[in-house]
Subunit: 366 residues, 2 copies
Amino acid sequence: MAVRHYTLDFSLSAPADSSTTVRGLQSIFQEQEMTETIHNTEGHGYLATFIGKNGRFVVLRIHKHGLVTIDLQCYEADNLMQVDHLLNALEKKLKTLLHKNIRRIKRLPALQRGAKVDRYWPTADGRLVEYDIDEVVYEEDSVYQNIKILHSAQFGNILILNGDVNLAESDLPYTQAIMGSGKEQYTGKEVLILGGGDGGILCEAVKLKPKMITMVEISFHLHIDQLVIDGCRKHMRKTCGNVLDNLKGDCYEVLVEDCVPVLKKFVEEGKNFDYVINDLTAVPISTAPEEDSTWEFLRLILDLSIKVLRPSGKYFTQGNCANLTEALSQYEELLEKLSCPVDFSKEVVCVPSYMELWVFYTIWKK
Amino acid sequence: MAVRHYTLDFSLSAPADSSTTVRGLQSIFQEQEMTETIHNTEGHGYLATFIGKNGRFVVLRIHKHGLVTIDLQCYEADNLMQVDHLLNALEKKLKTLLHKNIRRIKRLPALQRGAKVDRYWPTADGRLVEYDIDEVVYEEDSVYQNIKILHSAQFGNILILNGDVNLAESDLPYTQAIMGSGKEQYTGKEVLILGGGDGGILCEAVKLKPKMITMVEISFHLHIDQLVIDGCRKHMRKTCGNVLDNLKGDCYEVLVEDCVPVLKKFVEEGKNFDYVINDLTAVPISTAPEEDSTWEFLRLILDLSIKVLRPSGKYFTQGNCANLTEALSQYEELLEKLSCPVDFSKEVVCVPSYMELWVFYTIWKK
């Protein structure tokens, strides 16, 4: 049984008078037959807790610097209408008591804690966002990671790997961006996809009638695994269509192998591609490359990819969210240090389920 | 001084053993020199509160049905590294204590309560979302409403009216959608814009060389006011360009008048338009039309607009967020009851700053 956690905050122009405020609210808590405990905060304002029926619990703090915060926790099976009335009563009374002193009243949608279906998936830049998720469609723990596919009424099914939103069925703009935003001519071309386990890129690329697509599906470093492909084939069909049903089609082949040795083999064989699409990983948030092996890996993949790219070819990849400017700069510095000199452009794209703008790179040989 | 409110929740397969769990955590709270109060919950699990240095406050609840919740409140001026260590210690210890019983551990980004700049602007479907807002650029209370323009690193300036996100500088997709998603030919056409106080539609429409745009700027019913135009002209220039600098241009005119009498006058005069773009209001969330005068108003505007529409003309408007299916159905029912029979199509669009998909309507005479 989940806990609903309500907050109600009054920001004030000047500190509130504790005794008046407390006295003013007393009758409301008494009506609710709540048991009050007053705490000694050692000079940090007034703090009282109230225990009520059905596990209801309230924290009232009158902070010293012009802020009154109220927390109300109750169980989801509680009478939520009653709980709402209680909050309304507290809000109304505080409005009267604090009146001209009020700068802002903030009452947030209740946090749902410990619910069966988890709705909170923070953004890459660390913001709290709640999704309209109503069902767990698929959940597996592979040897590498936790894999979830959750259903959102508006975004369709969403693939979440180790707590990071990867791709939703609504996210065609992601796939289009990492394929060059419709500005490229894929017909008759040779394409290499690194990663892309959800099948989105492969599905869109196949429609464009390329000569051949080679997709290298597994990266031991990044733990892309068979259970991801299995889940997506079944539950992300708006994204992958039927391309994951078979590992080989008229113009594509999926190699279930680690991409590094495959890339090395391509380099040795002198195999070339018109487009290399790297969908393996976002730019790491950590900006200490020496401590994060993902940076090392990123550079290795980049170097090998540029080697298999035709002189006129293009390399596409995601960066990270637009707000992680330091990590993105670091990536751009890395681009300047590759063994083969490259130029790049970037584009900021709105991916519907991400709740933040995302940066994509196009890289080509100088 | 804002309060940072951390939550750490353990969802369990079976109820936790209170005494073992409490004893296990005791040393951590003692090390922090926190004063413990144990509360009588009358059979609703274990509940203890802890008061620490610098106004730190912790609530530990071991719920009866397999959930442990921890709240930690501290001031933003506190040593946040230390606070993080404390949470890490609690998480680590609980991992050991609860071990194989753990279904999910959830530690959300801290809520910032009472902060100078408010970052929480819930979606139309009532979800909690945090924005990357770092500055209040403009704030005015007009006789009608509270007007804010806030700066977001990724979305640019955001216009917020009475707490509702209206439009950000990143939201060209909104403007494009309400103009027919690029499928219309505006050159040489006569266009009527209702509302649109941010100047976005006017700015984009002017670029398409129409014969004449009439924008009717003020709706007394919906409280669009001069202070909105003033704020947007100054702080939303990526949206409105320079079109709000003058109320009259080569091919446009802004009438600062209530739109209802203006529309009635157009009907009387037999004035016609190729496109009517209604940017006055979203479909009301309330699905009790008899109790909400906005529904009444919506119908009036629709009827008048269809009357001034050429037989080949199109009427564009926003609906609401895709999840408010009931309100949208209600609107579609209203469309079937207009005095002049109409057909409609709808489109679901991702507006970057909205954090939810948005529905737009195209309506035409049968």
